[in-house]
């Protein structure tokens, strides 16, 4: 029961985050609720996998992004809108923003570092950087995989 409540709370806040960014991205009004749904499901699945099934953040993000991707395709067909609206807005709660700027803060810190501290700072920045790239790759793969799987056409361009 507490697990269910925790997941629901996670879904609620991720949905709010997705809608907020949807407004920033000028998403048409009739699509906003679906953006919230997609963002909530994707992030809640990721949190559930990490907290209850001990999955690493990268694998969990891939799974969450796949949910976002397939849901976006389905909703896009229903509403006759491009799936990237729901895909991108729904993925926003999982974007590794904190990792990205911690990488950069680490690199900036190297400028005025005691000699003994340099290795530790550099290693931390490197780990954060790799984490950022891996999470972004998983997000992109998860969002585009449905297109690769469901719409295999010879390219027209």
């Amino acid at each position: 029961m507490t697990i269910l409540l925790a997941v629901l709370e996670d879904a609620l806040w991720s949905g709010v985050a997705a809608v907020g960014f949807g407004v920033l991205f000028n998403v048409p009004r009739r699509a906003l609720a679906y953006c919230a749904l997609v963002g909530a499901c994707g992030h809640a699945v990721r949190t559930l996998m990490m907290d209850q099934f001990g999955m690493g953040i990268t694998t969990a993000t891939l799974l969450g992004a796949l949910i976002v991707g397939f849901m976006s395709k389905f909703i896009a067909r229903k509403l006759k809108m491009p799936s990237m609206i729901f895909g991108i807005t729904g993925a926003i709660p999982m974007v590794p923003g904190v990792f990205a700027y911690q990488t950069m803060i680490g690199l900036v810190d190297l400028i005025h570092q005691e000699p003994g501290q340099i290795q530790a700072t550099l290693a931390e920045a490197a780990v954060n950087g790799v984490q950022t790239v891996a999470l972004l790759g998983c997000l992109a793969l998860g969002i585009t995989a449905p297109t690769f799987l469901l719409e295999r056409e010879h390219p027209v361009v």
Binding site: G20, L24, N26, P82, A91, G97, A100, Y101, M104, I105
Partner: protein, 279 residues
């Protein structure tokens, strides 16, 4: 080499016979195919579509308006396209520097391209429709400020913040969003805009620690600058990599990294200024 009985016109015909032909377009119609499809492509690229979508939509519009074929080159901030119709072809360059993200534009241009493909709308209709898309409605400025503030506050809860950090994040991010809109309206360089906006968010978010509002004050700092995270360039960049558009993917990813660096600089500056413990 070639048959001496062929005249010049036939040689051109042989050269152009690798594709099927549509009815011949007159000068003006061919010019409009080029102008309209590139205009639509320019808006897509400016407002955050990935490279595949830009290519496919321009192709769908151009062939739907009567071109036999279109060859399209999408670079990070410009599009080059050639229309082919029987023995005529035209090439045009169109600049498309980034203008942020606008999903309404992407939705409407996508829908328009399918209408053109189905022959439901002619070139005059397309011109009018693109003009209308250019003047599309936006969310009210204050709605955006509040929505973004609330979104970052929601992120604060996801990071494990309490009610005090939630409130501080809301005010920090709303204030930062207001600053970002104002700096954008006075045409300040985007990277500088990001540094200053992150600084504003960091200054307000530091109050959580300075006023001892919460033991979890660092979550307010972390969440308050999330409105600046370049999520769309970073995700689109990775998508371009997956689709084989390596140069465009690189350009978008580097742009995302530069904006992340700008956030880090603004936030570090705020942390040093306020003398708080940081992330």
């Amino acid at each position: 080499m070639f048959d001496p009985r062929l005249n010049e016109r036939d040689i051109v015909a042989v050269a152009a016979d690798h594709h099927t032909h549509k009815p011949e377009l007159d000068r003006e119609a061919l010019r409009d195919v080029m102008r309209l499809s590139l205009w639509a492509g320019q808006m897509l690229l400016q407002y955050g579509a990935d490279t595949n979508r830009v290519e496919q939509t321009i192709h769908r519009l151009g062939t739907g308006l009567g071109a036999d074929w279109m060859d399209i080159l999408v670079t990070p901030d410009a599009i080059v396209a050639t229309t082919i119709n029987n023995y005529e072809f035209r090439t045009k360059v169109r600049r498309a520097p980034s203008r942020g993200v606008d999903m309404t534009v992407i939705a409407e241009i996508s829908e328009l391209s399918y209408q053109v493909q189905d022959g439901k709308i002619d070139r005059f209709g397309v011109g009018e429709k693109l003009m209308a898309i250019d003047e599309r409605p936006h969310y009210n400025r204050w709605t955006v400020v509040l929505a973004v503030g609330l979104a970052c506050a929601a992120f604060n809860r996801l990071f494990g913040g309490d009610i005090a950090t939630f409130a501080v994040t809301f005010f920090a991010s709303s204030g930062a969003m207001f600053a970002r809109q104002w700096l954008h309206s006075v045409e300040l360089n985007t990277v500088l805009n990001w540094v200053i906006t992150a600084f504003v968010a960091g200054i307000v978010a530091s109050l959580a620690e300075l006023l001892s509002l919460s033991p979890l004050s660092s979550t307010a700092l972390a969440a308050s600058v999330l409105l600046l995270v370049p999520g769309v360039p970073l995700i689109n960049g990775s998508e371009d990599f997956l689709n084989g558009h390596i140069t465009n993917g690189l350009a978008r990813s580097v742009w995302g990294a530069i904006l992340s660096l700008a956030i880090a600089m603004g936030l570090s500056l705020a942390i040093t200024t306020m003398g708080v413990s940081g992330l």
